[in-house]
Amino acid sequence: MNDELERRLRDSLQARAGDVEPTPELYARVEAHVNRNKRWTLVLSGVGVAAAIAVAAAVLPSLLDRGTVEPPIVGPGTPLPTDAPTDPTPSPTDGPGDAVFSEHAVLAGDDRIWLADVRTGQEIAELVDFGGPENESEIVAVEVRPGSTLEDLTVVYVLQGEGAFTFGWIAYDGTDATYAPFPDTHQPSADLVGDALPIPAFDPTGAHLAWVEPLRGEDNQAPTLRTIGWSNGPGTGDIATDNAGFTLDEIPIEHAPSDFVVDDWVWTQQAEGTRRGHLLVTGALQAWRVPIEEQSDGALARGSDPIELITVPERAVIDLAATVGELTYTLVVGGSTSQDAEDLNLTLLISGPDGEDEGMVPDVSTADPSGIWMTVYGEGYAIGLGGFTEVFVPGGRYRFDASYADFVR
């Protein structure tokens, strides 16, 4: 039975492949790519500041003890080292999203979303499996709602298929998982430009969800920050908090089609029922800090400060994350140590009040930098692209066959 299917499969693949002829322009395109990458490297290299960065990284005291001894990478399900330090000093918290680190993550890949123990790789529960003969969608992001536990877990997922993106959410009570798409009013626009992914992020309290939409047919117009409230699910029924949108005037649209990812959201000030903070947004190898406020009635507003372009000298920023009042994680590519465009020189800069250090990163030397993503929780972080994710927690580094991940937070 399998032999016959395999024969038909080989026959079909050979026939299809045999019909394909490269266009005569391909060589010229490769030449152009090589030349363009050389220019790109040159722009990133710049002059002057690289040495200062290198010296700073070398002499500043380590913020974290990562990188001194590289723990082994182990696959999911493989027994893990038990002598790793697992009792670091707690850091100040601001809301449910700031524990020291998480031992559990929600992972996605192969049409499935599952809950796993980070250190053992053990699958605790399958949350949803979209696989099936009729499925033509794929999971392109997962986001865990802050405040979740193993017995009360909420996960937002983004599906791509049918020519559009669909937001949905999963509720897991420790035994059973249910899932449902968002109501139509809370879905991303169907008119997103190009292949822009609307990847959302929760605020640290789990009361708001935000994503960025560059809209088709609106050349030279700024992308829009969309937000919805969250109360036992997407939407609150309160017009003060549901479906608020803000034009991000300072973010140029000319990068579209491109992803604009809301990487993180932090509240930095709280007084008299209001909060102030910012969202970290990346896209087209640039990053912005978008000020935002929550008013006393729970409604969001653009912060009074201008949107700030975040730059790292000689590097291109591909992802950002922050922990309140503590550390900022900036994932960058480029730098003067590399004269080679495909040697991405992927670097994780971890900066805080005491200086700057570098965190470990996966080997992604052949990857498209735009496909790399990162998520951070306390002292743990995950970096991935395409088909794999590496999770770094104190004393451990673990690789998963998962396209996307987020920590239970």
Binding site: L26, V30, D110, P133, G371, S403
Partner: protein
């Protein structure tokens, strides 16, 4: 003048490498993506990487290096699939001039249509196993996953193909 000659020599040499491998790379990328234009984009990126590494003498086996680069490039598109992908993937099988001249052609088309409905990773495993004829271990190395994952992806993909062809095949079920 000397540097110009050297550059020209390198480019001429890489042109030889290009001529030897680009066609098979585009075909592999096409089987992985189902989109000729996207396949050429992927191969252009992959060959760019190969060129730079090859210039430095870091590429011993161009075919293997290029294959891996093509698969990696395809994987990196997972988050960035074009919206028109759906439209492309649901076109009829004869959109590129293939004529359904007999039942075998019709069957190949059914299999191809079914293959395009698989998740990318199952499809990649199947293409590497049944088009590139890689062993499970070699496919695992290319995909940067475990051998067990290649086995499970291939098995799930075949199961799904069997289901799809059972519903669609003019031959009434995957035999």
């Amino acid at each position: 003048m000397l540097s110009m000659v050297r550059t020209g020599t390198r480019e001429a040499s890489f042109a030889t490498v290009f001529n030897a491998h680009h066609r098979e790379a585009v075909r592999l990328a096409y089987l992985l993506t189902g989109d000729h234009h996207q396949a050429e984009d992927i191969v252009a990126d992959a060959l760019t990487k190969v060129w730079k590494q090859w210039e430095k003498g870091r590429v011993d086996n161009v075919r293997a290096y290029l294959r891996r680069a093509v698969v990696n490039e395809s994987n990196s598109k997972l988050r960035r699939r074009y919206l028109e992908r759906r439209q492309v993937s649901t076109r009829s099988g004869d959109d590129r001039g293939v004529r359904l001249v007999d039942e075998h052609a019709a069957d190949r088309d059914q299999v191809w249509q079914a293959l395009q409905r698989l998740p990318e990773r199952q499809r990649a495993a199947i293409v590497l196993r049944y088009y590139e004829d890689l062993s499970e271990a070699d496919a695992a190395e290319v995909l940067e996953v475990s051998v067990g994952t290649v086995k499970s992806q291939t098995s799930r993909g075949l199961d799904r193909l069997r289901e799809l062809l059972g519903a669609d095949s003019p031959f009434g079920g995957g035999s």
